[in-house]
């Protein structure tokens, strides 16, 4: 990993931990971000971790850019020495794969896709050597995912699957972005998954939809009353495949204010993960289901 610093005009500093994605790069970005937040530096107005980088926005009238840069470099050495252990949450997100709404949308934009003759999930299964949509769903929902960044639009999580690189699902973005994506679509581009928090343009492959809102600017939904966005970088997500009947029932429960996502506090160690990925993921699953 080679850390690279760059000024983003007179109000930002951008720090790239690594050109390529890895959990190590993500952890380093997260640790520097947390250290900057804890330091409560005067003049810093935005502190944003991303997948393998981070960015801060500051007021150069309060702290000089060069001073801000040297502060950040101090945090880098602290982050490198920190034990890569975080206290976080694991959240189960129900997914109705191959649902009719994303299907209707992907058919509407078929001419913008790499493979107009198959669906997004069939295409992704084929190029990742998985056994059709069923094999794909098994791989996609089999191991948990880290929320490695929140952004693009309000509350949208970028997700990175917690498996070794050989098992990472990779898929290109659409050849030309769509002008429409249903709200709460489960998408994928490059090595990242996402949940579209609002309806709108998008270029990620579409695999399914969740009945569970993740962004509510009106804060009416029971579990979004405290804050309008569900996700924070560092959260862990586990997909749970559901069928149409379960989808409809969950939508009704959300509308009635009766739905609460399955969510547990958990401690995650990157060192333990690297030692034995499957054992680490099994442990997370046990915590989620209360064993």
């Amino acid at each position: 990993m080679k850390t690279r610093y760059s000024y983003g005009g007179d109000e930002h500093i951008f720090v790239e931990m690594d050109e390529e994605m890895s959990l190590d790069a993500f952890f380093k970005a997260l640790f520097i971000t947390n250290a900057v937040r804890d330091a409560k530096i005067k003049g810093v107005t935005e502190i944003c971790p991303a997948n393998a980088s981070m960015q801060i926005k500051f007021d150069p009238d309060v702290i000089k850019p060069a001073d801000m840069l040297s502060e950040l470099k101090k945090f880098e050495s602290v982050a490198e020495k920190a034990e890569p252990v975080i206290k976080t949450r694991i959240i189960e997100i129900p997914v109705y794969y191959n649902d009719p709404w994303t299907h209707e949308t992907l058919m509407r934009f078929r001419e913008r896709h790499q493979d107009p003759k198959s669906t997004d999930i069939e295409y992704a299964a084929r190029i990742n050597n998985l056994d059709g949509p069923d094999g794909f769903i098994k791989a996609h929902s089999g191991a948990p995912w880290f929320v490695s960044m929140v952004g693009f639009v309000a509350g949208l999580p970028f997700l990175y699957q917690m498996v070794d690189r050989q098992r990472q699902i990779e898929a290109p973005k659409y050849l030309r972005p769509r002008t429409d994506t249903p709200k709460l679509t489960i998408g994928h581009g490059g090595c990242f998954g996402c949940i579209y928090s609002v309806r709108g343009a998008g270029g990620y492959q579409m695999f399914g939809i969740t009945p569970m809102p993740i962004y509510d600017p009106n804060q009416k939904i029971s579990y979004l009353r405290d804050f309008m966005c569900l996700f924070k970088p560092g959260d862990i997500v586990k997909w749970k495949p559901i069928d149409r009947a379960q989808y409809d029932a969950t939508v009704a429960d959300v509308d009635a204010g009766k739905f609460a996502p399955l969510m547990r506090n958990v401690t995650f160690s990157l060192a333990d993960f690297h030692k034995d990925i499957d054992a680490s993921n099994r442990k997370l699953n046990e915590v989620l289901h209360g064993h």
Partner: protein, 323 residues
């Protein structure tokens, strides 16, 4: 009191100085795109500089007042009319109960700021009254104005008629507009040759120009330094592992059309960026119409800071002129 929206204009929104602090979860800064004009409009009507105003783009709204108020219009040259009679821009004037404020066609610039004494009193959401339409957040019901809306207005002491900002203190872009930027971020991804013609070429504002970002067309495509794409970045040479996008950053998807992100920026994504427009010149972008010519001028950080202080000095002079 209230303002009744008779005609909404094209995309009129409630904006103040913005909503900092939530970019890490994808909620952008928002606020008036021309911050100098936003502050000035408020000063003219006796408000705090950060009170909420209306930002009208390309076309003005038609508004009926239910009580007396002081009004001022700054920014674009979008001449105001009161009950059909011309009023001056950049100048305070009194509106009586029942009178209708409307506008001539746009003559110059892109965005006009309409301040009303007391400020537009929509609820404060996450510290701001600004509208973030993509997230249906803040402003009036999270959206642009529609006919029939009734905007609440706060209590303000108002100001006397005829307070005016001297013409030399009204900043506007030239033609071609010169946008100063600090090269950086992923500048190293393009060849030296591409870097040269990025600055040499004259670009044109594309029709896709809004509060999220401004797209530019007409310059030569940028060539990339060859590399094996890093894991997770995607296959196009303009792709990076998705990262944060600074406010003002210039991304160039596919190396063809630069996009400068503005107040309602998407907070991150997978396209490389060649640098960032300096804070002092972001106001100017808000006043560019589609098809306007523009050039990017590379500057170093010291020049950016000097320009920032000059802009601050201009704001100070406006404050003095109106005190």
């Amino acid at each position: 009191m209230a303002i009744k929206v008779l005609k909404p204009g094209l995309a009129t929104t409630v904006q103040d100085l913005g909503r900092p602090g939530y970019y890490n979860i994808g909620i952008p800064l928002s606020g008036g795109m021309d911050r100098l004009a936003t502050r000035t409009a408020n000063m003219l009507v006796g408000n705090d500089e950060g009170a909420a105003v209306l930002e009208a783009v390309f076309m003005g709204p038609e508004l009926e007042f239910t009580a007396d108020a002081t009004v001022a219009v700054t920014g674009a040259d979008l001449p105001p009319k009161l009950d059909g009679a011309a009023r001056d821009s950049w100048t305070s004037f009194t509106v009586k109960k029942g009178q209708v404020l409307s506008f001539e066609f746009l003559k110059k610039g892109a965005r006009a700021y309409i301040a009303v004494s007391g400020g537009i009193d929509v609820p404060v959401v996450l510290g701001s009254r600004s509208t973030y339409a993509l997230g249906a957040l803040g402003g009036f019901k999270g959206r642009k104005l529609e006919a029939g809306d009734e905007l609440p207005v706060g209590h303000g002491k108002g100001a006397r008629d005829g307070r005016s900002v001297p013409a030399n203190l009204r900043r506007a872009p030239g033609n071609p507009a010169e946008l100063r930027m600090v090269p950086g971020l992923y500048w190293h991804r393009i060849t030296d040759e591409a870097g040269k013609h990025f600055f040499a070429d004259t670009w044109k504002v594309a029709p896709e120009a809004d509060r999220i970002g401004y797209r530019f067309k007409g310059g030569r495509p940028l060539d990339f330094v060859p590399r094996q794409q890093p894991f997770g970045a995607g296959s196009d040479p303009s792709n990076i592992v998705d990262a944060c996008y600074p406010y003002g950053s210039i991304q160039v998807p596919g190396g063809t059309e630069p996009i400068v992100l503005h107040r309602d920026a998407v907070s991150g994504g997978g396209y490389f960026m060649v640098g960032t427009v300096i804070s002092a010149d972001m106001d100017l972008i808000g006043q560019l119409q589609p098809h306007t010519q523009a050039r990017f001028v590379g500057v170093d950080l010291d020049t950016a800071l000097k320009a920032r202080h000059e802009r601050e000095g201009l704001l100070h002079k406006v404050r003095e002129a109106l005190s």
